[in-house]
């Protein structure tokens, strides 16, 4: 049985399926306030006993930001110290051998709060006198320019907002810490056992030989399980203290209040253009609602958005000011796309605005602003392929000029920037006639097993059924990064390809010749960290048609034309594309994490979070791709985030053609269609 069949048949082993002898259940007492002083705490494990700050190294694109500022002042304590800064922040923990009793014990905790004024949105923070107090990080990209020096006929401005959304994986966060004889064994639902191990070692001062992190079957993540969380530390500390295994598995409302959310971006854009449609200048101010603490992404995501805002378009003058704003909300983290959809939304919305203003076809206008040569944007984004020929081909594949005559049609063009750096690791172990594969990034529902089997089959000639992809385990592969940022086929796939060569060499060394029987009859083992210190960008396009019925947008046809490099597995590709498209649609139509003005989270279920219903699935998916060249050994390009980038911009355009009302925000408000 392959992994997909195991999971689909209810035979997976998730965190909540694992029960260890004598195990305690941990429950977290969380802040009911967005901002308050803690005058006194009685009960539970709290910061009077366990004082620590955690650091999450999500890793994604961190190198790009070049932010040298000391970020330690924005770190979150694992249990609140004297003050709480967001609704849902952990304050104390309780433990019992019975899950229900552990829940009951939360009533035994007494906290004396003094509520304080809270700042719960970007607008509220921008209205403050001393904005620097509310700024986590600030960047300038491109070069300031003088309006008079820019050749232009018209100037257009607009404001955009993407509300916070969150991954909402079916399985919430969870872990089991088991400390025994000086060794911490830590089971976790994660995208990266290595980032969890790093976090535990750094904060609890454990050396690498005394921490083993094992990935349980992981029921989805979408970015929210890429990093490190305070609850992991609390569970580990408690296991060391009570000398018993400690399990934490959260409820959905805890997930919504305290797992890292994504998006939450406001922007002001201004473009300068010629009457023929050529854009000559772009100015933008970008603000990220970073939350109360820096959990690894809040500080640099504003930079990352600004960096790629011009996407595939060659614009001579660009000046971006971007800031990460501190608010009394949960820390922001990477959510599928993580800055990329936000950037594309700004640029593509401005393209459509300009097309309307000049009465030009939006596709023609995009082609005009694309490029026939490689170029580097004023923000430093190196586009190594000419963008215009690709998008011309995409429009042909979509049959755009015909479709758009009779349908409300939106398109979007974008460049995907995968988190290829710093590469990743893989290990192959051949034993008992079977091949076990380990990857540095942990599969969490995408089905990496399929591409891993194909690579082994293609390079070593082994039957796919004899290949197993194991869950992450730091004792079996002691180096690695993680699965996020559209990187697995690029970094993980390449590491695996390189290790295949090593295994092949081992067989040749032994027998003088390689064949599959020689491989499977022996025992072999090899691993490698394949380093990547360059970018693997790709060009991509989407087209969406829709109509409005009974006050709701219905999606008719969803088209993609993506450059995937070599397709490692077709079913992986289709699964990634359809799933990502649904998340892009959800962001536009319904998904959001809604807070009241005083920072109370006012949703408590996955339904209220606005996940799509089946009726909102597009009537037809038309999935196409090209297989352009790629510099890495797997020959793959990125994919995972592409549908979340291209869908929102194309869909909102399609909808506004039905209503003749411009869309500036996601999700669309209920009264929009009335």
């Amino acid at each position: 049985m392959n992994k997909k069949e195991i999971l689909a048949n209810g035979m997976g082993r998730y965190i909540d399926d694992i029960k260890l002898p004598g195990m305690l259940y941990m429950n977290i007492y969380r802040s009911p306030y967005a901002h308050a002083k803690i005058k006194n705490i009685k009960g539970g494990l709290n910061s009077s006993e366990f004082k620590s700050y955690y650091k999450s190294s999500v890793g994604e694109m961190a190198e790009l930001s070049g932010n040298k500022e000391d970020k330690t002042k924005f770190l979150e304590p694992s249990l609140a110290i004297d003050e709480v800064k967001y609704y849902g922040q952990p304050i104390a923990a309780v433990f019992s051998e019975n899950r229900y009793e552990s829940e009951d014990l939360l009533n035994s905790i007494n906290v004396d709060f003094e509520p304080m004024e809270s700042t719960c949105s970007i607008d509220a923070a921008l209205g403050k006198k001393d904005i620097s107090k509310y700024t986590m990080a600030k960047y300038e990209l491109g070069k300031k320019f003088d309006e008079k020096a820019v050749d232009h006929d018209i100037v257009l401005e607009d404001t955009f907002f993407n509300e916070r959304v969150i991954g909402n994986s079916i399985e919430t966060r969870g872990c089991i810490a088991d400390y025994k004889d000086g060794m911490l064994t830590f089971y976790v639902s994660t995208q990266s056992v290595h980032s969890v191990k790093g976090g535990l070692m750094n904060t609890l001062n454990l050396d690498k030989d005394h921490v083993r992190v094992i990935q349980a079957d992981t029921g989805g993540a979408f970015g929210s399980k890429g990093g490190f969380y305070p609850e992991y530390l609390i569970a580990a500390y408690a296991s060391m203290k009570y000398k018993k295994p400690v399990k934490w598995i959260e409820t959905r409302s805890e997930y919504l209040s305290a797992a890292y959310a994504g998006r939450g971006v406001k922007s002001y854009a201004k473009i300068y253009a010629k009457n023929n449609g050529k854009i000559t200048g772009l100015e933008a101010k970008i603000y990220v609602d970073a939350g109360a603490y820096d959990a690894g992404a809040g500080g640099f995501s504003s930079y990352f958005i600004g960096f790629q805002v011009t996407g595939p378009y060659r614009i001579e003058n660009v000046y971006i000011e971007s800031s990460s704003i501190i608010t009394n909300k949960s820390p922001v983290g990477p959510y599928r796309g993580a800055g990329r959809p936000e950037a594309s939304f700004i640029m593509e919305r401005m393209m459509d605005l300009l097309a309307d203003k000049l009465n030009k076809d939006p596709a023609d206008l995009r082609l005009l602003n694309a490029s026939d040569e490689p170029f580097t944007s004023p923000t430093g984004e190196k586009i190594e392929e000419p963008t215009r020929p690709f998008f011309k081909k995409a429009l042909d594949e979509f049959d755009y000029y015909n479709v758009s005559k009779n349908n409300k049609t939106g398109i979007s063009f974008f460049v995907l920037i995968p988190a290829s750096r710093p590469g990743d690791s893989a290990r192959i172990q051949v034993k008992n006639g079977r091949v076990n594969v380990f990857l540095g990034g942990d599969t969490h529902g995408q089905g990496h097993e399929f591409f891993a089997r194909n690579i082994i089959n293609e390079m070593l000639g082994v039957d796919r059924e004899l290949v197993t992809l194991e869950n992450g385990d730091t004792s079996l592969l002691d180096m690695g990064v993680g699965a996020w940022g559209s990187r697995s086929a690029i970094a993980g796939g390449s590491a695996l390809a390189v290790v295949c060569e090593k295994i092949r060499d081992q067989v040749i060394q032994k027998y003088g010749v390689y064949n599959t029987d020689n491989l499977l009859n022996g025992e072999y083992d090899a691993s490698e960290f394949y380093k990547i210190d360059f970018d693997v960008y790709s060009l991509n396009a989407n087209m969406v048609t829709s109509y409005v019925k009974d006050g709701k947008a219905m999606i008719k046809d969803w088209h993609s034309y993506y450059d995937l490099g070599k397709v490692l597995d077709k079913s992986n590709v289709i699964g990634q594309i359809e799933g990502g498209a649904l998340q892009g649609i959800g962001q536009v139509l319904s998904e959001s994490l809604r807070y009241s003005d005083d920072g109370q989270l006012i949703i408590s279920s996955i339904e209220e979070a606005g996940l799509l219903n089946a009726e909102n699935i597009p009537e037809n998916f038309h999935i196409k791709w090209s297989e352009g060249s790629s510099k890495v050994p797997s020959h793959a390009k990125g994919l995972g985030e592409s549908p979340t980038i291209g869908t929102p911009s194309a869909l909102v355009r399609s909808i506004e053609l039905s209503t003749n009302k411009r869309i500036r925000e996601t999700p669309i408000k209920p009264d929009y269609f009335y």
Binding site: G551, S590, S592, E607, K669, D671
Partner: protein, 285 residues
């Protein structure tokens, strides 16, 4: 789900149910499907020491046409939404039952539970008000009948005492035309608001009788008495509908919240109300 501890009872007849209710009074609650109570317990928004599941009591699940349309409190919402008797005699109830929540909830949820819980977002209270339904209420000292207009007091508060049981729903106004116009955001199956309309015309196409109920526009379901009175005897056109809507505005309370401002909500409600009147009037002709 991790609720507080509770005792769980499944009485097999009304007499045992009455006994339990007399014993535990305010410390108990009837479970009649669980559409509302289960989520409240699960989130620990409430704690109920004694849960009395009435699904084993025979004779509470029926849909019958006698002089009135009579519905048992344990008729599952899905059964009502699939009943020919209901479809033929009470299209408003038929339409509304099919619009409650999702199929799983309709399979477990009951019309009686929906009424008695009186969550302002529940659909059945407004439907019952539009239908002028009567409720038979039973307790250990006997039976009484309460009209729906006297039943809904406030959010989660009804004319039921802690030992009362709803035993029958009677609908006299049958053979009308009617529909339930429910506006939901895409993020929820609960109504942001909804309008229930039940209508019968005279031979000259003037309104003979009309019932209008509204969901989630106040702390409990609203019966639009003044609007009903205004529309009786009139032929409905756009001008009349708009005038009716302005009268309706005096009877409801919309607030600003994350779903939109008061003005934005009024804009949507107006469209739903005016279009709804037009549609049901058209059907009635």
């Amino acid at each position: 789900m991790y609720p507080d501890k509770f005792q769980y009872f499944t009485p097999g007849d009304i007499a045992s149910l009455e006994e339990l209710l007399d014993k535990y009074r305010d410390d108990s609650k009837i479970l009649a499907g669980g559409q509302s109570i289960i989520p409240l317990l699960k989130m620990r928004f409430t704690s109920i020491p004694n849960i009395i599941d009435i699904s084993n009591i025979k004779g509470l699940n029926f849909i019958e046409l006698n002089d009135d349309l009579e519905i048992g409190p344990m008729a599952r919402t899905a059964e009502v939404a699939a009943s020919n008797i209901v479809a033929m005699n009470c299209p408003l109830l038929f339409d509304a039952a099919g619009k409650v929540a999702d199929p799983q909830v309709r399979n477990m949820g009951t019309v009686g539970g929906d009424i008695c819980e009186a969550d302002p977002r529940n659909d059945m209270p407004a439907v019952m008000l539009a239908l002028n339904a009567d409720f038979e209420i039973t307790n250990s000292s006997g039976k009484r009948t309460v009209n729906s207009t006297e039943f809904f007091k406030d959010a989660y508060t009804t004319a039921l005492d802690s030992n009362d049981i709803l035993t029958k729903i009677s609908i006299k106004n049958i053979g009308y035309h009617g529909k339930y116009f429910k506006f939901t955001t895409m993020a929820s199956d609960f109504a942001l608001f909804a309008v229930a309309i039940n209508m019968k015309l005279n031979s000259d196409e003037t309104v003979k009788d009309i019932g209008i109920g509204l969901t989630n526009v106040s702390s409990t379901a609203v019966k639009a008495n003044e609007v009903e009175a205004y529309l009786k005897g009139k032929k409905i056109d756009e001008k009349i509908s708009e005038e009716a809507f302005s009268k309706l505005l005096n009877m409801i309370e919309l607030d600003d919240d994350y779903n939109g401002t008061k003005e934005e909500k009024q804009k949507i409600l107006k469209k739903i109300f005016v279009n709804g009147l037009k549609e049901v009037y058209g059907d009635s002709k």
